[in-house]
């Protein structure tokens, strides 16, 4: 069927900010869909309040809104744009839920908007666990024994019938949020209450536990003529009980016979048919018991998903693009696969390689050894690798994960710890399993498989590496052993340390034997046809399939897996740079390993290499591809750190020189630079030995900020107010030595923090944006809400910031991007640090100013001067202007995944994503940003305040205003008395330590609508239970005075009726 002519304009809803369970994959799918719909001649409207996304970057030919995804704002947008259809399946669970709400509230009907991609009935059936189960049973499929519960009582009855352990899963939640295994009846009551609260429709499923069963996923596409293909089959290495997002997975399925596989394949297609998905893609999950006598259907998602992003990259079948075409009427046989240009979408991919995905955890930030994986997703990102065997792909994917493991790694843990890790499914269980294979040998495989639930096939593969490594230790490094090790994807470094050699020696030996990476095309057809797909994976010792691209090409190092502190923003910059450079006739090679992202899409760079961002793999690519230089500024700290090593290979670094990068990053030389420029810096010193720490701290004066050097996202940073806190910090497993020194810094209390992003050619300085943080200095900049233009910054401070920036940037000859962090205390500007690379805020500032910053930087990298651009004044300086009266970027957290964590902000970054709010006033912008971040500020009700006496004057004006807005105020006794003295009578509420009913009871009974809980300098006094409890009950909580002030302004806006919207990019 040809495309539909009755549609002119189609809206796409994005997934909003990045949270655990919903990351870059929906920016990728949304962007693909927008491109395709545009190619098909439709007008496209994108709605996504995520300032870091490619979707909203303005590159796509679409009208873009970054407004909250709530009914009132969507209503306003629809009224203005009048789309004919809404494509609901590209924005993850968020978009699906929002679309279903729009349907139920008859907003779609009001404007005559048709839901395309999936119909409301199909969405409902797939998402409502009860309805889905019934449909599966009616269709003759087996499902886990389970009962549906809407009350605690029903849950107990169900548990009685099923027995323990069992699993509870709330309906309609992201990434399995709220799902968990209940081992004994005493836990049931509490877990059920929470789960009921988590579910938007207060319902949940009580299910038999399938611990140890094998888990599979099928990615299926079906069209209106009942044509269907299975794009990819995926097998989880870990068994049921671990959320798929947290699982190490492999494609294609490895352990099923044809009979078993075809049974699952046919079932997956039949399930789409039964559910009614007839114009799009879905993901169906199955589980098999040990002897495959039972195949159960677990769930299906009637939309593109994280798995479909992986499947697209793994197979060369761009699911979102094809799903978008099907949504507007095409059938599979009419759609050519644009990646291969040889096959049609009805040709099912065949793989002659293994693809392995490894989740990225920021465990160090969240918890310890006892951390265990469950049905609720906890990973923040993922990396993937492709190899000609499973172990090769696994080792490379682990390396690409950039989490400190060079492939499968032997842990030094004791036996009992290793056993605990494999039984509890610790995030690093795979290394524990490998360690046990190494220590116990093949005879233990059976037992290890039983304990871990990992199928013997995988265990055998892991065991083979253990055997190989043992052979490496015994024998001299023969050609055959080296070849075997490289075929397993073992790095030169690991071979070197195993054979007691130096890494360069291994490389030389490899070179002598011609054991270099060969690059294979990802062709969807296992070599059957010649494909034009421009992307490759490397493997050792076989025939390479491509000639070098061009000596004029530029190589961009991507940012790898999402992690806290490095995510979508960097990927968006990488994609925009590739596209900008190509626009300027420069061939682009991109190296990355994140399966979720836009940058690893097939049409972003001229050539894409799936590889780890480490010297060994980058060097192999560079040996293959002569180029004019490498861009290291876009991939975050890991890419930047590679600059000297790449330069030592004789390949130029484009942009700021490695010497200047080092000068800006080395504390001592940077301080010398600041001194020579007469710029201020908080007092600081570098500690090489723990014993000196206290002396240094006393010399600087408390409070002090402590941070290890060269860290990402402020990991392990801490503020210490006392000597005691200093000691407790050092005791927490922080190594301080000459090779890993600790920076100790004067902590500027109550200072304003400023972020400045710059593009420069070394002489001309374009200050793209000056962002004022709403939270004070000391809160990690990535966790702080910030605003542009600054909302209360005196003119002369701004001028001073411009002067300081220009001076620094020119002195460091910055070519390309840099980001400067300053603190302003009593009008005095302190330079905290400079990062000679693109920052997280580049996409946000581009949105706010409408200036394509990445393109500007790209021109600098190509050697152009910024003087010729309209952005630079006669003094060689330009300053970006906001296109809007006010904008706010708000950090988005996934605290709800980590119940035990006190959601207080500090110098260590914890946010996973960000939202944007745009408005005519600061209040409007902040209100929208908060809403999009998932914080729905109340417009009436009761606020509870817990603050230290020293914060009283900072908070009082906001408190008065909140009172005037009609809120009831409750506080502890001391604060109430202070307020009474100011003439304000408030309710007194017991603190959590006092007798009941206290504040916790009020929170539990929804009698409090807003919690303001400020940390008190002597931190023990802070009532962290309150914040945790508020978090659990979804009540907005505020932990800073400025955040409180901003919230009060936002509430003022929310009480007004105005709900205007602004397009941030449009098709002219």
């Amino acid at each position: 069927m040809p495309k539909r002519k009755d549609l002119k304009k189609i809206a796409i809803i994005g997934s909003g900010p990045i949270v655990i369970g919903q990351a870059c994959e929906f920016d990728y799918s949304g962007s693909q869909a927008a491109q395709v719909l545009n190619e098909e001649g439709y007008e496209v409207v994108i709605i996504n309040p995520n300032p870091a996304s490619f979707m909203t970057s303005g590159w796509l030919p679409a009208t873009v809104y970054s407004e909250p995804l709530t009914m009132d704002f969507l209503h306003t947008i629809f009224k203005k744009e009048r789309p004919d259809a809404l494509l609901a399946t590209m924005g993850g669970q968020t978009a699906l839920n929002v679309s279903l709400d729009l349907h139920r509230q008859e907003i779609l009907e009001e404007f005559g908007i048709e839901l395309i991609g999936a119909n409301p009935e199909a969405i409902h059936v797939a998402e409502d666990r009860g309805a889905f189960r019934q449909l599966m049973i009616d269709s003759g499929f087996e499902v886990p024994h389970a009962y549906y519960a809407k009350t605690v009582k029903e849950a107990h009855e169900a548990a009685e019938r099923i027995g323990f352990p069992l699993i509870i899963r709330p309906s309609f939640t992201l990434g399995g949020l709220g799902g968990r295994t209940v081992k004994k009846s005493s836990e049931l009551h509490e877990f059920v209450r929470e789960a009921l609260h988590t579910s938007p429709n207060q319902s949940l499923l009580i299910e038999e536990s399938l611990d140890g069963w094998r888990e599979f996923e099928m990615e299926v596409i079906r069209d209106s003529k009942d044509n269907a293909v299975v794009v990819c089959s995926i097998e989880n290495v870990d068994p049921m009980g671990v959320h798929t997002g947290d699982s190490i997975t492999v494609a294609p399925v490895q352990t099923l016979s044809d009979t078993e596989y075809q049974r699952m394949r046919s079932a997956s297609i039949e399930i789409l048919r039964r559910v009614g998905v007839d114009c799009g893609g879905s993901n169906v999950q199955f589980t098999f018991n040990d002897d495959c006598s039972r195949m159960l259907v677990i769930e299906m998602n009637p939309r593109v998903s994280r798995s479909s992003a992986l499947a697209s990259k793994a197979t060369g079948f761009p699911i979102a693009r094809i799903a978008a075409r099907i949504a507007v009427g095409y059938t599979l046989d009419e759609i050519q696969n644009e990646m291969t240009k040889k096959t049609y979408a009805c040709f099912e991919p065949a793989l002659d390689y293994c693809v392995v995905k490894v989740p990225r955890f920021d465990v160090a930030k969240f918890a310890d050894d006892s951390f265990s994986l469950s049905t609720e997703m906890k990973s923040v990102g993922e990396s993937f690798a492709i190899g000609r065997n499973f172990i090769e792909a696994l080792n490379k994917a682990i390396r690409s994960n950039d989490a400190g493991y060079d492939g499968l790694t032997q842990l030094s843990d004791k036996f009992d710890v290793l056993f605990t890790k494999i039984q509890n499914k610790h995030p690093m269980y795979i290394h524990a399993l490998y360690s046990l294979c190494c220590r116990l040998g093949i005879s233990a495989h059976n037992e290890l498989s039983q304990l871990s639930g990992v199928h013997p096939w995988f265990l055998h593969a892991i065991g083979e590496q253990a055997t190989l490594l043992e052979n490496l230790t015994k024998k001299p490094l023969s050609k055959e052993l080296l070849y075997a090790a490289k075929r397993y994807g073992i790095s030169d470094a690991v071979i070197a340390s195993t054979c007691e050699m130096e890494e360069p020696e291994v490389f030389l030996q490899r070179k002598k034997q011609g054991l270099h990476a060969s690059y294979y095309v990802i062709d969807t057809c296992a070599g059957e046809f010649e494909a034009t797909t421009p992307y490759y994976y490397g493997t050792i010792g076989e025939h390479t399939e491509n000639a070098p691209l061009s000596e004029q090409s530029v190589v961009i190092l991507g940012s790898g897996p999402n992690r806290i502190g490095q995510g979508l923003e960097f990927d968006t910059s990488c994609s925009l740079a590739a596209l900008s450079l190509r626009k300027h006739n420069t061939p682009v090679i991109l190296i990355n390993n994140n399966p979720e992202t836009v940058s690893t899409d097939f049409n972003i760079a001229d050539r894409l290499y799936i590889a780890s961002i480490d010297l060994e793999e980058i060097r192999e690519v560079l040996l293959q591809e002569p180029c004019r230089g490498v861009i290291v500024q876009l991939g975050g700290q890991a890419a930047l750190n590679m600059a000297p090593a790449i330069e030592s290979l004789g390949i130029p670094i484009l942009g700021t020189s490695t010497a200047d990068i080092a000068r800006s990053e080395d504390r001592a030389s940077f301080r010398a630079l600041l001194d020579s420029l007469f710029l201020h810096q908080p007092k600081n010193s570098v500690v090489m030995d723990v014993v000196d720490l206290v002396d240094h701290a006393k010399a600087i004066g408390f409070p002090v900020l402590l941070r290890p050097s060269f860290v990402l996202g402020g990991r392990a940073m801490r503020i210490a107010y006392t000597e005691l806190e200093l000691h407790s910090y050092v005791n927490e497993d922080i190594t301080v030595s000459t090779t890993s020194p600790l920076l100790i810094e004067q902590y500027l209390e109550h200072a304003e923090e400023i972020d400045i992003d710059v593009v420069s050619d070394g002489e001309n300085v374009y200050i793209a944006g000056i962002l004022q943080h709403i939270e004070p200095a000391g809160i990690h900049s990535g966790d702080s809400a910030c605003t542009m233009p600054p909302y209360d910054m005196p003119e002369d401070t701004l001028n001073e910031l411009i002067r300081v920036t220009a001076l620094l940037v020119r002195s460091l000859s910055i070519k390309g991007f840099c980001n400067i962090q300053c603190a302003v205390q009593d009008g005095k500007v302190y330079v905290i640090e400079i990062n000679p690379r693109a920052s997280r805020t580049v996409p946000y500032i581009s949105t706010v100013t409408g200036v394509p910053l990445v393109e500007l930087a790209s021109r600098v990298w190509l050697g152009e001067s910024l003087a010729d651009t309209p952005y630079i004044g006669s003094d060689g300086i330009g300053v970006g202007k906001s296109r809007f009266a006010s904008t706010v970027k708000e950090a988005v957290f996934s605290f709800s995944r980590f119940r035990w964590i006190d959601p207080v902000l500090g110098p260590e970054m914890r946010s996973t994503g960000e939202s944007i709010g745009i408005g005519d006033s600061f209040g409007e912008a902040f209100a929208k940003a908060s809403m999009s971040a998932g914080t729905h500020l109340p417009i009436s009700g009761r606020a509870f305040l817990s603050i230290g006496e020293d914060m009283f004057s900072a908070v009082f004006p906001s408190l008065v205003k909140l009172h005037q807005l009609g809120f009831s105020i409750s506080t502890g006794r001391t604060l109430a008395q202070m307020l009474l003295e100011k003439g304000m009578l408030v309710d007194v509420m017991f603190s959590s330590e006092e007798s009941k009913p206290n504040v916790l009871d009020y929170i539990q009974h929804d009698r409090i609508q807003l919690v303001v809980n400020l940390p008190i300098p002597m931190k023990e006094h802070r009532d962290s239970v309150i914040s945790r409890e508020a978090l659990r009950h979804g009540i907005p909580y505020i932990t800073t005075a400025k955040g409180f002030a901003a919230a009060v302004e936002a509430i003022t806006y929310l009480q007004s009726k105005d709900k205007s919207v602004k397009a941030i990019a449009g098709v002219s």
């Binding site: 003759g140 003529k225 352990t255 016979s257 044809d258 596989y261 049609y344 040709f347 070599g527 076989e542």
Partner: protein
């Protein structure tokens, strides 16, 4: 991947290209003891299916072929004789029909109880299994140079080089697939009644037959069973599963037409099988005598023979279709199906006579994948709706077969 009992082996192609590997099954003759009668020469074909190696190895269509599987790992789940595609039960050491198996990574770890490791299965069947081969390079070579005759010789490529001229001569003089009437030997020798025991398979409900189809199909199961004759040229067991509700007898293709018609069949199914269809002169003549006298179905080789019998021509494809992922389009409904394919020859659609219509085409290269003729009552497909291995999506073809009887 490493095994002490392994021996170096080299895959030698007719054009002199060598690929190294290691022998894990029945060992090939070593280069130092070369003799013509010990060299197994056959056509080298690659199959891109990711599962189903047992089904592939036991499919009689692979007689006189060396099969290369492109999948990264092979042998993962062991061997169960239940998966055999041989029409009648065979001893486990007589199941394999193809001449040799070439793979990249051979799995040698634990497998479910009751199953046999793949290398052992190859060994007891006296068939060669060569692993650690750069199968992708071989595949790309065949893709660009076309399918070729090949053999496997013990020894490294360096050792082979010295004897290459001799080996190539042996290959050159070996029986090639083009012109080979091997199918006449592949089927049964005498009449057999079929009461197959099938492995328990509960595939999902097949595609929605329209209510009209249901009505038509119903009598086949309720009243007296219809009679189907399988003309066996090397039939796969899965074929019969499609005709469960018929009384089925298998006859060799050497039977006379009268003998066949004497059985009063409601339909005759010409089976799949190995080799070059155009060389099967007797079978073509036989079919010509049957046309018009009964309903004729054909699958794979059967489809080619029916086409030839009707006057169409066949030709050799550059490297054939062997896999479980090709899509074919039903030209009558415009629906597409993902199907299992295994053929080196194809029917030239431009040579189809009047009243014979293209039924299916391959969506990748537009080659003919099926014909139908209500005039001649001939219905045949090039692909394998019976799967074994591969997707079950196109089983509707069979319900169509049932409706025309």
């Amino acid at each position: 991947m490493k095994n002490d009992s392994s021996r170096l082996a080299t895959l030698v192609l007719e054009d002199g290209t060598l690929f190294s590997g290691k022998s894990y099954g029945f060992h090939p003759p070593h280069v130092s003891q070369l003799s013509t009668d010990q060299c197994i020469c056959a056509e080298l074909v690659f199959n891109t299916a990711m599962t189903g190696y047992v089904e592939i190895l036991s499919d009689p269509s692979y007689i006189q072929q060396i099969v290369l599987l492109t999948s990264a790992h092979v042998g993962n789940y062991g061997v169960d004789a239940l998966w055999s595609e041989r029409l009648f039960e065979q001893n486990i050491d007589e199941i394999i029909t193809s001449e040799a198996l070439i793979v990249h990574n051979l799995y040698s770890g634990p497998i479910p109880q009751g199953r046999m490791p793949l290398d052992e299965f190859m060994k007891i069947n006296k068939k060669m299994l060569i692993a650690d081969v750069d199968t992708r390079a071989v595949t790309r070579h065949i893709r660009s140079e076309g399918s070729q005759q090949a053999t496997v010789i013990g020894g490294s490529p360096e050792e082979i080089e010295g004897k290459i001229a001799d080996i190539l001569t042996i290959i050159k003089h070996s029986q090639h697939i083009t012109g080979s009437p091997v199918a006449e030997q592949a089927g049964i020798k005498r009449k057999e009644t079929i009461t197959p025991k099938y492995p328990v398979q509960t595939p999902a409900r097949q595609e929605n037959p329209s209510s009209k189809d249901k009505k038509k199909a119903a009598p086949a199961t309720s009243g007296k069973k219809k009679k189907l004759i399988l003309l066996d040229l090397g039939a796969k067991r899965s074929l019969l599963q499609l005709f469960k509700e018929f009384d089925c007898i298998a006859l060799p293709s050497t039977m006379g037409a009268e003998d066949i018609l004497e059985e009063l069949p409601d339909a005759v199914l010409v089976s799949n099988g190995p080799g070059d269809p155009a060389s099967l002169k007797k079978s073509i003549e036989l079919i010509q005598e049957l046309i018009g006298k009964t309903v004729l179905f054909g699958i794979c080789l059967g489809h080619q023979l029916l086409s030839l019998a009707l006057g169409a021509k066949t030709y050799k494809l550059p490297f054939g279709h062997h896999g479980a992922n090709h899509a074919v389009k039903d030209l009558r409904t415009n629906r597409v199906f993902v199907v299992s394919e295994n053929h080196g020859f194809a029917v030239d659609s431009s040579t189809l006579p009047k009243d014979v219509h293209p039924w299916f085409t391959n969506t990748s290269d537009q080659t003919l994948e099926g014909i139908y003729s209500d005039v001649y009552k001939v219905y045949s497909v090039q692909f394998h709706p019976e799967a074994g291995p591969g997707p079950h999506d196109a089983r509707s073809v069979l319900s169509h077969f049932r409706t025309v009887i």
